[in-house]
Amino acid sequence: MKEIAIVGYQQSDAVSDAGAQNEVELIIPVLSRIFEQVGITNAQDVDFVCSGSCDYLQGAAFAFVLGVDALGAVPPIKESHVEMDAAWALYESVLKIRMGHADSALVYGFGKSSPGELPIVLSQQLDPYYLAPQWVDTISLAAMQARMMLDRGLITERDMAEVVARSRRNALDNPHAQLKGDVTADDILAEETYLSPLRRSDCCPISDGASAMVICTVEKAKAWGKPYAVISGIDHIIESHNPGMRDLTDSVSTRKAAENAGMGKGKVDVAELYAPFSHQELILSRALGLGDDTNINPSGGVLAGNLMMASGLSRIGEVFNRIVAGDAERGVAHTTSGPCLQHNLVAVLDKGEVA
């Protein structure tokens, strides 16, 4: 099987409101930076392009088609799209390369969540007969999940506050982070409750922005002469649509995806976990069996900025950045989709050979 490398990753700042910018205007600066990073002109120089976005976020039909205007699609290019986080666009691109249909791919994701009421918008991804008509929002579902964790004695509110405080402090070193600060768990615990038992700080912010990645075969990465990280394993597993049908205090799909991706074959120096709520980071790190020797969410994670449809790809990008910077040799990136960690993707990244 062809070994696949990540050779470039860029993201925009996570901002609470990108103002008048449309999707093309959000994407162009990120793409021009990644073209420069990899040393290519535009999407003509890769074999395949795949994007992740969701029209419900900004309330514009077929917005993802207009996003193609940022690529340079004359003459026509091979292009695809997932109505999901761009981490799944990466997954599609990995399959494309493994099947021998491409040697390189550009992957990008973008989201403008500020125009709508995101927790309400996301209620429409639920079961259309029972749950969506009740407008069950994402924060309420996460609050119920956190309540189950607390009542079973699996976590404490202080554990949750520690997750938030670490995110805020780690984000001080992340130039793209929206929320950062020298904050302690006591500061978080002093906040009033928002949707019990969650405080506002336990919830990720609403963010606008985009991210992009270029992957290719290892042979091509060497030919390009770029530092790279190898995607040594990637898998995704989905659980029941009905939150009542699964154990919300665990993430079986994350654990299985990590096994299939070969996470256990070596040490994990760094982990970037897509945990939109503080207690979910605890579920995920336990499901993955991460210990003290793993640096969890050094970027601050999505509690520091949640670019819907792009932050999953960013988790993989953040691990890539640390590997090529020499801060880590091996890392794991996790992405989630759906309410209460319904659908999970795990990618394992390894250091490439020194060029």
């Binding site: 008048a20 205007e25 535009n42 193609v68 125009p115 309400i120 429409q124 969506a132």
Partner: protein, 172 residues
Amino acid sequence: MSDENEMITGIEVPIYLKYNFTAGAAPARFLSQLKEGKLTGQSRSDPGAPVYVPPRGSCPATGQPTDTEVEVADKATVQSFTIVHIPIPGNPIEPPFVVANLVADGANISFIHLMSECDNEQVHIGQRVQAVWRPEEEWDYSMDNIKYFKPIDEPDVPVEHIGKLPVTGLEA
């Protein structure tokens, strides 16, 4: 329960989502110029780059930003058209009417607008038209500032020249 045979064929689940939608910086600039009675497009900064009306903020051919504003004429050429015979729900215009792809002089891609003050059967590709504007006091951030385009007495544009005219039109 004895209602096994009662087939449910549908349930009513209305969905209402509210958005503060923004068109984008480039379309917003286009609309604010329309309010001043001007049709403007955008192009890349390199000489000879195509002019897009209305602009979206990028050159779709290359993916580069369109950072140069270009004012175009309100004269245009018919690139394609259709005659609508069927009433469209919610549309106040009585059929039959003409919807046309028009390329403004100075622009390189078409936009869609209505044609009127014309014999529908005589409308043809390459035909020259000009905007009929609403009274200035009614101008808003809207393409509707132009009521429709009407034919003008200028020679037809050969097909290979449509979308390639300067702002001054065919005569220049």
